[in-house]
Subunit: 507 residues, 2 copies
Amino acid sequence: MTISGNLLIGGKETRGSNGEFFGIEAATGQPLPGSFGGATKADVEAATTLAWEAFDIYRETSLEDRAAFLEAIATEIDAIGDDLIVRAMAESGLPRGRLEGERGRTMGQLRLFAKEVREGKFQELRFDPADPNRKPAPKPDLRLRHIAVGPVAVFGASNFPLAFSVAGGDTASALAAGCPVVVKAHSAHPGTSELVGRAVQKAVEKSGLPAGTFAMLFDTGIEAGQALVADPRIRAVGFTGSRRGGTALMKIASERKQPIPVYAEMSSINPVILFPDALKNRAEQIATGFVSSLSLGAGQFCTNPGLIIAVGSDGLDAFIDKARQLLPETPAQTMLTGAIAKAYREGVARLEQHPEVRLVAHGRKGGDFEGAASLFETDAASFIAHHELQDEVFGAAGLVVRCRDAQELEEVLGNLEGQLTVALHVDEADLAEASCLRSKLEMLAGRLLINGFGTGVEVSPAMVHGGPYPATSDGRTTSVGTLAIYRFLRPVSYQDFPASMLPHSLR
Amino acid sequence: MTISGNLLIGGKETRGSNGEFFGIEAATGQPLPGSFGGATKADVEAATTLAWEAFDIYRETSLEDRAAFLEAIATEIDAIGDDLIVRAMAESGLPRGRLEGERGRTMGQLRLFAKEVREGKFQELRFDPADPNRKPAPKPDLRLRHIAVGPVAVFGASNFPLAFSVAGGDTASALAAGCPVVVKAHSAHPGTSELVGRAVQKAVEKSGLPAGTFAMLFDTGIEAGQALVADPRIRAVGFTGSRRGGTALMKIASERKQPIPVYAEMSSINPVILFPDALKNRAEQIATGFVSSLSLGAGQFCTNPGLIIAVGSDGLDAFIDKARQLLPETPAQTMLTGAIAKAYREGVARLEQHPEVRLVAHGRKGGDFEGAASLFETDAASFIAHHELQDEVFGAAGLVVRCRDAQELEEVLGNLEGQLTVALHVDEADLAEASCLRSKLEMLAGRLLINGFGTGVEVSPAMVHGGPYPATSDGRTTSVGTLAIYRFLRPVSYQDFPASMLPHSLR
């Protein structure tokens, strides 16, 4: 399949004239076929202007039409066939099985939101009937619905080239809410983005929707993305990436004449708390699960378990011993980009050289584009004293924090920043102690797990992939699961409207 | 009833040592009995520390206990008796009838939220059952509830000394959500605040809740309020007041180490659009309603109709003529404070001196502490060219914008900032034209009204008292009505929890 490297604006393909870049093969660092043109400010404005024009029509599409459109996107993505997987494998270095699963998840998300749209509950309709006889004043007729906030800027994520990029969770939930979407494609997988972008464009056309309903831009640097967030026609932002990137967008959004919400999913080290009895009874089993979760996808998950917290015990020693035994057998894996691999090596080196940190073990050493899992250990006092030990090292790096007792473990928890997930490994005899922590942990993270790891993120109604700052910019929401649609809605109340003027849903 | 002027912290009364100030009789500018001590930084910290300590217990109170507590507050406010009305009349200059109504509304809000708490729907419980046989991976058990965000800072509003102050809508909705509240009392009605604050304190004690569940601070300037918003234990802010005050709090909140949401209801001029047939058929009747709404409560409502937009016609002339006839008969009214009366006079003078603005009529002239209604007129082109004509003049000042035609009227709408309300006056023949505007108006305001004025704000499930920035800091919410509770909640997901560790509501 030909890669044109074009921007997708207004149902057309346009060559971006703001610089040129290439898709890079993750495993080799070599350029892949096709060159991509970066968007100029004029391209950004063209996309947002069309999105704004499309907004009034798109947001008032019937629930059935909108649901069918989401399903049409899934169908078009499916129709790309294996070319999509092949290109995504080359650009991301992720294996076929993972990408096929991710494609399934991407289509599944779109279909789940289609179902959500059809059900229509997200509109949260409310009716307060009039009471003309009420004293001292008659009661008016009030009706409420939630409407789409406006065009949404979505930033593709490097670590989910399909499920959290061009037609990923942010795009699906924004489109479901009735918001046109302008995607800033991630430069780590531009060819994958183009293929998916064209699929969305086709679905827009086949569904007879305004061409401005969807656009996709490339950016050789950060200017186009920044211009997008600053654009007055953009009314919300979805982002998954680094804390530096997310906070930069938050700042731009808050300094606009009309500030807008930024839903940035930024960084998390996803603490795993090992309780005494669980360690006593099945330290090795937990270690096996941990090493597997730590190294999954080269550790490039937002929910990667980067922190193990436990009170020192024979069980903890056994856990560490098992991890020390397993890690050297764990193969290195190609990372998403050369820059990510380099940053990972630097992060691991910082931990290695940290005076208060001891190495447990490294995984099997890999090449320049690969990341090997690494596990370190420190004590609670050092962890508390050195805030930098909380910095996410994106990749398969883990740190065990050994506590003197349960009280020190609580102190460690009290020093943690906001997280996406906290996992607890407990056996029957640990339940009472673990229960006492629940309240503290609820304030720390958006999702709490028992006897598991956070790396599997269900796309379902009860999922929260979110959490207090700095895990995300806005802990009141989730970016995965059906609740994500609420990020892009606002309530409007209609008072004493004649039926003919009311939106259909409120008549 | 004695006014102590004390801060209310931890179930006790404490004299604030950071300066002294007095309640001022609005009608005379003279000090009232009782002197008030401002909170020091230590007082702020004492209040927030206790609030944080109370949080874990308070947020896990049973729905019944929490509802009963809200009702107990209403009962204690009722028990203050007429002393509350007398003091509020003196401090605010508002008439007895209005304040008795406002007291009823305050108690009604508390009881409405009690009902909302009992029903429990605000927790938005979600259940995704496990499926151990799912391929390729078993599906975990996921359950979701919404929990309280943490202690909330509430800033009392000058214009609602009861319904949007110490135990007003923000406090009621935050307490309903499970958040302890620290109130920064408005210095325009400190005695009223103290009486209500003590009532809340009594309800806390009688309900057996932690003393930190509620605190009330006085501030001689802005330092205590600023320290409150910057305090790491405060997790959300409710504010009703000026745009300057609201945006200052937004800035502090966004620059915290952990940014927090600020729900600031700031300024709105609440456009009223008069359609041709309505003007043709009943210009005088609409003018009568308008002058009454404009001058209600000396115009000191967030939803005061400050802007009339219409296409020039005989009907519009008749409307203006009727207003010109009615206004001089409209008595001046005591304003909330001398500073507000002065700012109002200055705002009116700016309009009078504006080269593009013509006076329609003034209301009956009043004294230094009173505000007289004033109506002005300009043309659409001037209104568009002079952005300052959109600045809210807090009080009973109105501006008629005369448009050449429907297209120019749309241009005026396109130039407006976010609003709380937009009202449309229409007759049967106007409906088609008005319907075409609905979509634009939905993007402009949180509440749209037909043939009414926004000054009556129902406290009900379908009310939105909110709107796009700068009407509020966050257009995704409302500060009035039951939907307000959602401002203070965030979702948490529980994965594979044993029943004994789950919150009761999710078992």
